[in-house]
Structure formats: C-alpha cells, structure tokens
C-alpha cells in the first residue's frame, strides 16, 4: 500500500540524512581524508535519490482528492517529516561546501583541526549506503572535483524545495505529532509504528538500545573466554594422558 511504502522510504531518507550530518561534522578534522570526501559524495547522492523518490510519491498521494480525511492528515504528517529532512539535508550540504573549500586535501601540508578523533567514518557511511563494507575508488582530486558537483546539487535541492513549497499546500504547523515527549526512549523503530499511550520521561523504563549493544559485545567476549578455557582444558587433559602414557 502506498502509505507503507512511503513510510519505508521516509525512514531510509531519515537514516541517510542522519549519517550525512555525522559525516559533515567530521569534515575538516583529523578524521578527514580522501575517503571521507568520497563517503560524503556517495551519501549525498543516495540522499538525493531518496528525496526525489519520496517527493514524487508524496505529491502524488497528496494530490489525490479522493482520500479520506484521516489519510490526508497522515500524508500531511509524512510531508512535514519529509520537508524537515530536506531542510536538514540542504543545510548540511551547504555547510559541507564551505568547510570543504576551507580545508583542501590536495595541498602539500594539510591543515586539519586536531579534534582528537582518530578513527574513520567508514562504518557510518556503510550504514548510510546500507552496505557491509565501503569500497573506495575515487580519484585523488576528489575534494576539488566534488565541490563543483556539490554546488550544482545544492542548487537542485534548493529549487526542488521551492517547488515543493509552491505546489503542495500543507501547513506544517497544523500537523499534530504522534510521538509524545520522551518517545525517543522507546525502542520503536520506524515511522510506521506510532507510539501508543502517553509516556512521561520520568517514569519511563527506557528500552536498552544502548544496553542491547553493550550486552552484545559482552556476549562475544564471554564466548571467546569460554572457548579459550575449553581449549586449555583439552590441552591439560591431553598432556596428562601423554604423561601417563610415557
């Protein structure tokens, strides 16, 4: 159904936007590199694809006059989600242009800010692109070449947003959010599940996003320890037998 499809696409856009922001924050710092620039480029392109797809879908849904009032309200809510994502995307693209220009990579001495970050952003980009591992195949002058593309893409996005404003008559302030304060503490994943019931922050038992991750890591390590112990035990037994035999 159109609505579910829409929500899935919006989720994807949302995810890519978040990752893109994370990557742009790393620009100009010590975790900056050729790879980062390539990651930015690819994430950006993906975001744009998703944006166009979302826009097409949503505008067609909203243009449909035959939909019910509740449906219309829902589509308007989705529209607000979409336009907010686009706003963030546009802002981040502009910022990445400015910072990218200020911190060129193909210079004899790179002047990158010592922010204390040492690792790379590969995993973030992989998350954005929904791949396991990123493969890097860009040329060495990506930082300058990409900037030109970036400028044109920013223009495209700006015009798209203006069109959206003109064509789609949705009053953003009229939309009522389904999520309550503190809803982020629930583990509900996507737009599809609207939160049920009012949950106040204080009483909330937050679902362990964090705890889940933590325990995952813990499990792996206990496994390793267990295996090690087993191997040591086997070695001891074998040694004992050898000694007995001899």
């Amino acid at each position: 159904m159109g609505k579910e499809e829409c929500k899935t696409m919006l989720d994807a856009l949302n995810k890519v936007t978040a990752c893109y922001r994370h990557l742009v924050i790393a620009l100009g710092s010590t975790s900056d590199s050729q790879n980062l620039r390539e990651e930015l480029k690819r994430t950006r392109k993906k975001a744009q694809e998703l944006a166009v797809a979302n826009r097409t879908k949503l505008t067609s849904l909203l243009k449909d006059k035959t939909i019910s009032k509740e449906d219309r309200a829902e589509y308007e809510r989705l529209w607000v989600l979409f336009s907010s994502s686009m706003e963030i995307l546009e802002v981040d693209m502009k910022r990445s242009l400015e910072i990218g220009q200020d911190f060129p990579l193909k210079v004899p001495t790179r002047h990158l800010i010592q922010t204390g970050m040492t690792g790379s952003t590969t995993t973030v980009a992989a998350r954005a692109m929904s791949v396991q591992n990123m493969k890097y195949e860009a040329d060495s002058n990506i930082d300058t070449a990409d900037l030109r593309d970036l400028q044109s893409e920013i223009c495209q996005v700006s015009t798209m947003m203006e069109e959206m404003e003109m064509k789609v008559q949705v009053a953003p302030w009229a939309v009522e959010a389904k999520q309550e304060a503190g809803a982020e503490l629930k583990s509900s994943m996507s737009v599809g599940n609207s939160s049920v019931g009012v949950i106040s922050i204080c009483e909330e038992e937050p679902k362990e996003e964090d705890g889940g991750g933590g325990s995952g890591a813990g499990f792996a390590s206990t496994c390793a320890v267990f295996v090690f112990v087993v191997i040591v035990a086997v070695a001891v037994v074998l040694g004992y037998l050898v000694i007995n035999m001899s």
Binding site: R95, A126, E184
Partner: protein, 555 residues
C-alpha cells in the same frame, strides 16, 4: 587530542606585544566563542592557566560562518541526550526540552526520528571517537544554549503593569505635546516654514532671557533643566548662591569623563578626584561614606563609568533642591531684548572661554562670596538675577515653587486656553503659579495680562516662606552622611568668615540658621584649605591609585 597550555601557545604564536593577561583573555574569548572547549568543567567557558585540558572544536561547530543555530537541531540534540542518559536530563535541559516540545510539536515526530537515527549513526564509530563526538556536540550547545542557572530568577524579572507604563506614556505625551513644534505651533513662527529665525534666536543656548516655553520645560523634570544649557547656567548660579556649586561642577566633570575621549580619561579622573573627592580637596563634595568608598576604590582602575555612583548621588541631591521656575518678568524682558544670532563657532568659543574662566576662578569665587554671606534665611532664595544686567525686576522676586510633582498633564491638557488665561489673571493672590499648559494663545495678550498680575504681586510683596518650604530637600541627612554634624545655631554670623564655602553643603530640613559642617577638625581643615588654595600648595593631594601602583607591580 591536545591538552595544551593554550596561554603559552597563544603567547608564542601571537604578534608581539601580548601580555600574558591579554593572552589569557584572548584564550578565554576563543573558548567563549566555541573554537576551543574545556574537557573538565565544560560549563565554564574560560581559559584557566593551569594544566586543565582543552580541545579544538570541529569546523562544523565553529561560529565563523555564522550559520543560524536552529531550535530543531537543539531539540534533536536534547532527544539524543535523553536517549543516552536514559531519561535523566539536567534541569535546564529538561526545561528546554519541555519548552521545545510545546513549541515545536508539529515537528516532534521528525525530531524523534532524527534523534534515534543520529544516535545509531554515532554508535557506528569506535568508542573513543564517540566520546569525542559527544563532547564536541555538548560544547557547541553550551556555547549556543547556555544553561540558565537561575531560571526562576530570570522568569521573575520585574515587570511593569501595562496600565502603569501606558499611563506614563500618556503623561509624557500630554506634557510635551505643547512643546513639540510638529504637534503644536511654535512661537513666534516655525523657521522652517516662514524663514523667520526668531525662534532660533530666542532659544539659543546662551541667550540672556530664556523663553517662557523653555522655562516651562525646565519644570518638567530636573533632567530637562540640566540638559538645557541656559537652565544649567541658571542652576549653576543658584547653587553658587547656595555655596553648593561644586555639586554641579562635579556632575559636569563626570559627564565630561563619560563622554570624553579614552585618552584623556585617566587624567580627567585624577583631576576630578583631586578637585572634588580627596580629603581636603578644594571643592569637596559631600557624598556618603559608602559611595565614597566605592568610588575611590574604583578610581584605582579608572574607566568611563567609575564615577557613576557618586554622580547619581549628587544628581539626586541637586534634583531635590532644584525646583524653581521663572517669573513672568523675564518674559517681558524676553520680548524686549532680541540679540542677533552668532555663528556656532563663536558660540562654542564663548562657551569654552566661560568654562575655562569658571574653572580657573572657582575656588576664588566662593571665598569672595563668603564675605557677603548672611545666613540664608530660606533654603532657596533665588537671587540669580542680580547678575543679569537687564533684570529690572527686583532681585528679591520670589520664584514660584511648582508642585514637586507635575499636576496630571492630562487634566492640565484638558484645560482650555481661556481657563489658563483666567487663572493667570486671577493668580496674583496665589503664591503658586501653574506653569504648565499655558497655551500661548495670542502671546501679547497673555503677556500684558501677566504684566498686570506681576505688578499686583509686587504690590503685595513677597511671602516666600510658604513657597520655599516645599523646596527643602527632604530626608537629605538620611543619605548616610556620616560626615555631617549640625552645629548649634548660635554662631552663624561668625562662622562664615572663618569657614569657607566649601563646607556649605546642601541644606536639609534644619532650621535655617544652622550650617552643616564636616566632622573633621576645623584647624586641620583650615590649614588644608589655605594650602590648597595657594595653588599647588604644600600638601599635595595624592590619588589612591598612584600610591598603590608601585605596590601592585606589573599587572
């Protein structure tokens, strides 16, 4: 990650001429703007010149590009923090969160979604980088959404009821309505319309006889009187008679300091201290002990506003004494005496000359006056016109004390012109004239009427006592004057020749025969007086900061 002594680094890399204190403040500026953030004590955005650690902020969070700081982003940040802290936010964060939830409710779904995704994206990185990232973001928001420690206090800021503020506005409009050349006619004519510059001539800063409207304006508030140069001149003369001229001189000195160039500030402050504030100063002003303490300690590091407290004190003092208005005799003079206008350059020169003259002659002035002193029978007998050559009216003309508070201009404004004229005519018996809202309809007619009433008043003679009672500044003594001690009344006639005018302060609600003297021993003061009057003098007045500087060493 860099744990540097940023101050040393700045000193090393900065252009020559940076003192270490400057380097420190520069460093603190960097922190306050958000280019560097502290790792410990992250809420205090200063550089501490010890081994505490700082880190550079990533360019995305710099203020350089002046990207707008959006509430949406802040809401997302708070939601992320909420997830990380598992629902336990700091108080100010909690407040902001609730506030944003209320105001950005329509976007809240998006905010929650983004917060979750951003949180998950950040988790993809390795732990140390994640920590750095969190620190960066937190530092950014400390700069751009500083925690309000005392939110309650800020909410409970004093607020004025709109009825009160609107009432004040109405009163202001009504009072100044007739004085606004746009809203009402200006007499004799608006120069811009008729090309007749009489109006300007009559209202020049140093005109002999000020116009009635001008004088009326002085009654509106003390500030009006002081800001009009002519009014200030009159007030200066008045204070001279009261032997309180140093107050106005001090006030003017303070204004000069406030508005003067920075280069001259230090020497001006010194000058003012030597002339007015130091013990044994030639024109010692009387301010209460606490203010004096504050001022003197502030003068160690003089800046533009160091004398504000003392100036305010003196201003209030003068305000209490100041209420007077002109008699109508002046207005007749005004009609008769018209001077040709002088060019502004000459006016300015005259002003400066006069100022210089007064400054040079100030101490002498008072001593001369002293010879003629008689116990002031009433607090504010204004005999300013003895100096004015054109004053034909008797110098002892009483001057009307207006009510200390303007009668409600609304009611005054409602009075018709005819009513005010009638009042003027009938007013000969009254000691009090109503200076407000005399709509000058048909100036000559009114002037003749006033001449008539004036003559009647002269016939009756003056009975100033009732009028001047209201002039006495009330509660003056209560202003912490630890140095004042009223002497017994039986030596007023002898006292003046012995004591000089500097010790005459603004009188308080005490019987007119009493004088007020500072507590210091009379002999010591006399010596000081004599020596300081003799020019540089044997006893030099030392400014407190001068004596302290060698002790302080380098700053």
């Amino acid at each position: 990650s860099s744990g540097e002594d940023i101050v040393a680094w700045i000193l090393l890399n900065s252009c020559s001429g940076f003192l270490s204190s400057e380097a420190r403040s520069f460093g603190s500026m960097l922190v306050a703007l958000g280019y560097i953030y502290p790792l410990q004590d992250h809420k205090r955005l200063v550089i501490k010149p010890d081994a505490s650690l700082y880190r550079f902020q990533t360019p995305y969070f710099w203020p350089t590009q002046q990207w707008p700081v959006e509430d949406t982003d802040y809401a997302i940040y708070l939601a992320k923090r909420n997830i990380r802290k598992k629902g336990i936010l700091e108080l100010h964060e909690q407040e902001q969160y609730n506030r944003l939830h209320k105001w950005m409710n329509h976007k809240w779904d998006f905010i929650v979604m983004q917060a979750k995704e951003q949180y998950r994206a950040a988790k993809e990185r390795k732990k140390p980088d994640r920590v750095v990232f969190d620190c960066q973001e937190r530092a950014y928001w400390v700069v751009h959404r500083p925690p309000m420690i005392f939110t309650q206090q800020s909410i409970m800021r004093p607020r004025v009821k709109s009825s009160v503020s609107i009432g004040a506005l109405v009163k202001y409009c009504a009072t100044y309505n007739s004085h606004d050349p746009f809203l009402s006619k200006c007499l004799p004519s608006n120069p811009w319309l008729t090309d007749d510059v009489t109006y300007w001539t009559l209202n020049m800063p140093n005109v002999e006889i000020p116009t009635k409207m001008r004088v009326e304006r002085w009654t509106f508030s003390f500030g009006e009187l002081l800001s009009d140069p002519r009014g200030r001149d009159d007030f200066r003369l008045f204070l001279k008679k009261e032997f309180s001229g140093e107050n106005l001189a001090f006030w003017e000195g303070c204004e000069d300091l406030k508005w003067g160039t920075a280069v001259t500030m230090r020497e001006k402050a010194e000058q003012i201290y030597k002339t007015f504030l130091a013990r044994g100063a030639p024109r010692w002003i009387n301010i209460d002990g606490k203010t004096m303490e504050i001022t003197v300690s502030g003068l160690r590091h003089p800046h533009r506003y160091v004398l504000d407290a003392a100036q305010t004190h003196i201003y209030m003092l003068m305000k209490k004494v100041s209420k007077h208005t002109r008699s109508d005799a002046q207005l007749e003079q005004n009609a008769r005496n018209r001077r040709p206008s002088l060019s502004p350059i000459i006016l300015r020169q005259q002003e400066l000359e006069q100022r210089a003259k007064m400054a040079a002659s100030a101490p002498v002035d008072i001593t001369q006056l002293c010879r003629f002193t008689t116990p002031v029978s009433h607090l504010a007998v204004y005999s300013g016109f003895t100096d004015s050559p054109s004053a034909n009216a008797s110098p002892s003309l009483p001057f009307v004390a207006p009510t200390p508070v303007c009668p409600s201009p609304i009611s005054v404004a409602l009075d018709s012109n005819s009513a005010s004229e009638r009042r003027a005519e009938a007013g000969e018996g009254e000691a009090e004239r109503n200076p407000e809202a005399r709509a000058p309809a048909g100036g000559n007619v009114l002037k003749s009427r006033m001449a008539l009433s004036l003559r009647r008043l002269l016939k009756r003679g003056c009975s100033p006592s009732t009028m001047f009672a209201s002039l006495s500044p009330k509660g003056q003594a209560a202003a912490g004057t630890s140095r004042i001690q009223p002497l017994c009344p039986d030596q007023p006639s002898q006292a003046p020749p012995r004591r000089t005018g500097n010790f005459f302060q603004i009188k308080v609600d005490i019987p007119p025969e009493c004088r007020i003297y500072p507590i210091e021993s009379e002999d010591e003061e006399e010596e000081n007086r004599a020596s300081s009057r003799g020019g540089v003098g044997a006893k030099e007045i030392i400014c407190p900061w001068e004596s302290l500087t060698p002790q302080n060493g380098t700053g």
